[in-house]
Amino acid sequence: MVARRKSAPGMTPGFTDSNKSWLTPTEKKRPLFGEEEEEEEGEEEMDVDEEQLDGEDDGEDDDDEEEEEDDDDDDEGEELEFEKKARRTVARMEREAIENEKEVRELQRGDFSLPTAAELEEEQSRPPDISAVRDRVKQVVEVLSDFNARREEGRSRVEYISTLVADLQTVYGYSHDMVELLLHLFSPAECLQFIEANETPRPVTIRTNTLKTRRRELAQACLPPHPAASLRPRHLPSRTSPLPCPRFSLLCSSFLPSPLPLRLASKALIARNVNLDPISKWSKEGLQIYESAVPIGATPEYLAGHYMIQSASSYLPVMALQPLPNQRVLDMAASPGGKTTHIAALMGNTGTVVANDFSKERIKALQANISRLGVRNTVVVNADGREFPKLMGGFDRVLLDAPCSGTGVISKDPSVKAEKGFSDIQRCQQLQRQLLLAAIDSCNANGDNGGYIVYSTCSVMVEENEAVVDYALASRCVKVVESGLPFGTEGFTRYRTKRFHASLKHARRFYPHTHNLDGFFVCRLRKYSNDLPAQLATKRGDGKETAPRRAVEEASGGEGEEGEEGEEEWEELDDDEEPAPPARREAPAVGKAGDAKKPSAQTRKAAPSTPAAVSQAVEGEGEGNPSMKKKLKAAPSTPVVVVSQAEGGGEAKPSMRKKLKAAPPTPVAVVSQEAEGGGEGKPSMKKKLKAAPPTPVAVVSQEAEGGGEAKPSMKKKLKAAPSTPVAVVSQEAEGGGEGKPSMKKKLKAAPPTPWL
C-alpha cells in the first residue's frame, strides 16, 4: 500500500490530459485512488454490491459469510461456492505477492549500499554478525542480478563481487578458492542457490537389488507368509503383484487382498515403519526414504542384500552405461560397489564385471557389498587404474567414476568447501585425464555393441569434467554421444576462456539446487577405433611415404599418448607436457557463422605452441584458386588439407569439387577459411597458410606440392614440433572470408596457452 501511495503521485509527470475531451469517468465507479486501499482485498470480486456490503471489514475472518451472501446474489449459480472462493483467494494472493515484491524491491533499492573498504575493515575487527552478513549476501546478489539498474553510483561490479566472495566465505565457511570457482561456474544468484542447497542434506535413497527382490516387494507391506511361499525355491521367478497403486506408504494398512501370489522373499520395509516412495519416473529401482524408525543400514533386508543405500545421482552413470547381458564390463574405480552391483544387476549376473579399485582398504567394502547383494559375475582387482590397460583390455563397456574433489557432494562432506582449492582441482584433473585415457584404452571399439565409456564425477567443476573429456577427445579415437538420461543440464562447451568440443553438450550435469541430486557429471563416450589417432592417420595414409606423413610420424613418435588423427579431421600438436586445448574442424563452433569469435580466440591461443589444423567445413563447396587445386591433387592419399568452406558460402568451382571428391578417404586436415559468405581461396590464402605456425596441415595444403615435399623451412618446423595433436586454426567464421594478413600476425603473436 505504501508503494501504491508513492506511485500515485509518481505517475503524474507522465500523465497527460489530452484525452479529457472524450474520456469521462463513469459515475458508478469508485474514485481511482480513494477507497481502493481500504477495499483492496475485495477489489476484484465479481459482485460490486456485495463487495460494498462487507466492504468495511474486508478481512479474511468473515470469508464464510461473504460466501453465503455471494451465493444468494449469484444469479447464474454456475459456479460453486468454493470455486469462487478459491478464485478470489488466488487472485488476492497474486496481488499481494506482486505488491510485496514491489515493496521489498523498493526497500532494498533504497536501503542497500555496499560497505566501503573502511567499513569492511572495521567490521573485520569485530566478530562477524552472521545474520547481517547473510542479509548483505542476499542484497548483493539481488543487485548483481540486475546490475545496471540497481548498482550504487560509482561502485564497480568488481567491488560487489569481492564483497560477495568475502561474505560467502564468512557465512558458509567456504574457502576463497571454492567461492571463486563457483562464481565462475554459476551466476551469483545461482551460486547462492547452489551453496544453500549444499547446506541441506539430499534425501536418503536406496536402490532395490533386482537380483534378489523387486522394488514393490521390498516396499511391500508385510504379509503372513503365503503357504506356497516357503515351498517355492527362492530363485524361481514369481508372478508380479497386481497392485496398481505406486504409493506404498498408503498401501501398507488398507489394500491388500490376502492370498497375493507374491514371492515374499523380502519382508517389507514398510512393516518396519519406514516411510518411503518410489524415487521418480526415471528410475525403476530407486526408493526414497522419508523417515525410518529403524536404522536403514541395518535391517535384515539390508543385510540380506535386498537393497543398497546409494544416492540417486549414482544411478545415473550406470544408466548411461547401459550394460547388456553377457558383456565384459570394467568398473575402474569401483569402491564401495554401489555402481558395480548396479551394473551386475542390470546384466542379470551374466557376463563379467571387473571391479577395480586403487585402495585395498576400500576394496573390503566393495567385496562385502558384492557378496551381500549376491553378485556373482565380478572379479575384484586391486590395481592402479592408470596401469590397467597393461593388465587387461577388450572391455565392451568401461565405467570410470573418477576420484574427484567432491564439490558436488558438499552436503555429504562439508570439509570439501573449506579445504579444497585450485591446486586440488588441478591435481584431480591430472589424475582424471590419465584415468580416462586408461579407461578408453581398456575398451574395445570393435566388439558387438561395445566400445562405450562412461565418465562421471561427483564434482561440478568444469576443470574436472568437460576439460578432461575434451582432452580425451583430442588424444583418443572417441566421441561424445547422447547419454540417454532423461534429464539434466547440458555440459559446457564454453567456459570462461576455454572452448570445448561442441559435442560436449551431450554430457549431462546435475546440481543440488536444480535437480535435488548430488552435483554430478555424466558423459558417455563411444570409442570408434582401437588405434591412436596418429596410427589411424597413418593407416589411412595407404602407406605412401609423403612429407606430411613423415611429419606426423616424427611428431607423434615421442609420446604414445598424443597423436595426430586424420580421419576425424582434428589434430593436435603438443610440444610440452601440457596439452593445448584442441580445436577441431568438426566442431560446429568453428564452422558456424554465429560463433565466429570463439574459434578465432582459441586459434590465437592455440597457435604458437600448437600447430593448427586449419578448419573449415568440408562440403566441397570451397572455391579454391588454381594453385590450391594443384596442391590438393598432388597429395593424394596423404593427410590432406582440404580447403573448403562452410554451409553458407562460396561456390566451389566444379573442378575443385572433383578434386575434393577424388581425394581418397584419407586423414584429412581441413583448412578452413571461413564459414559464411566468403571463402574463396584467394592467393592471399596461401600466404596465410604459410604464415600459420608449424602445422602438418599447413605443409600439406600449401607446400606439399608434388607428393608433399615440404619446403625446408617448413620441415624444420615440423620436426621441432614433438607430438602432434593439432589444434584447429579456424580463420574466421563469419563474413570476412579471406584470411587477412593480420591473421598471420595474430597467430604468431599468440602466447602459449597454459591449460588448466
Binding site: K267, A368, R372, N377
Partner: protein, 181 residues
C-alpha cells in the same frame, strides 16, 4: 595362482558343505546354465563360472582379490570354514531349515544362538547336529548353523534352551567386513 582344489582339499571342503546341502553339491558343479567350478586362491575357495576364471587367470596374483562367490577359507590347520557369503547357495539347496520369529531376528543377527523362544518353525525330522539354514518368517535367509537338538527333542525343550548353534549370519557383513572376503 588361481588353481583348482586338490583331491584332499576337495574332500575336506565337500565334507563341510555336505553338512548343509547334502547331495545338492552335484547341482552346484553340474549346472545347466554354464560351467561353474571351485577355485582356490589365497586359501579361499571361490565358486566361479569358467568365464570369470579365464579373466582372473590373466591377472597378477597379488592384484586379484576375489571373484565370483566366496564359499569360505581353509584355516592354517587345513580345516575349512564356510563364510556367510555363500549363504545364497546354501539357502537354495539346504534340506533342513529353521525359521525365526521376528523378535528373535535381531538377536541372531548379533551372533547369538537360536533359542527355543525365538523358534518359529523347524523342518520335520531334523537330526541333531545337522547343518541348517536359518531364515526369518518371510523366508529371507539370515545365516546358517547346526542344530543342537533334533526336532523331536526341540518340542520338549524349555524356552531358553538352544535349538541351533550360530555359525554364520548376515550381520557379519557389518561386523566383520574386513575379514569376510
Amino acid at each position: 595362482m588361481v588353481r583348482p582344489l586338490t583331491e584332499e582339499e576337495l574332500k575336506i571342503f565337500f565334507a563341510k558343505l555336505a553338512k548343509y546341502i547334502g547331495h545338492a553339491i552335484k547341482q552346484l558343479v553340474d549346472r545347466p546354465d554354464g560351467k561353474y567350478c571351485f577355485r582356490l586362491h589365497r586359501d579361499r575357495v571361490y565358486y566361479v563360472s569358467e568365464q570369470q576364471v579365464k579373466v582372473a587367470a590373466a591377472l597378477p596374483r597379488e592384484q586379484l582379490l576375489g571373484m565370483g562367490c566366496t564359499f569360505g577359507k581353509f584355516t592354517k590347520t587345513k580345516k575349512f570354514r564356510l563364510h556367510v557369503t555363500c549363504l545364497d547357495y546354501i539357502a537354495q539347496h539346504a534340506q533342513y531349515k529353521v525359521w525365526l520369529k521376528p523378535a528373535a531376528e535381531q538377536s541372531f543377527l548379533y551372533g547369538n544362538h537360536v533359542l527355543k523362544a525365538g523358534l518359529g518353525r523347524i523342518t520335520e525330522d531334523t537330526p541333531q547336529y545337522q547343518g541348517v539354514v536359518i531364515l526369518n518368517m518371510a523366508d529371507v535367509p539370515l545365516g546358517f548353523g547346526t542344530t543342537a537338538k533334533s526336532t523331536a527333542e526341540v518340542r520338549k525343550l524349555e524356552p531358553q534352551g538352544v535349538v541351533a548353534f550360530h555359525q554364520a549370519d548376515v550381520g557379519e557383513y557389518l561386523r566383520d567386513e574386513e575379514t569376510l572376503c
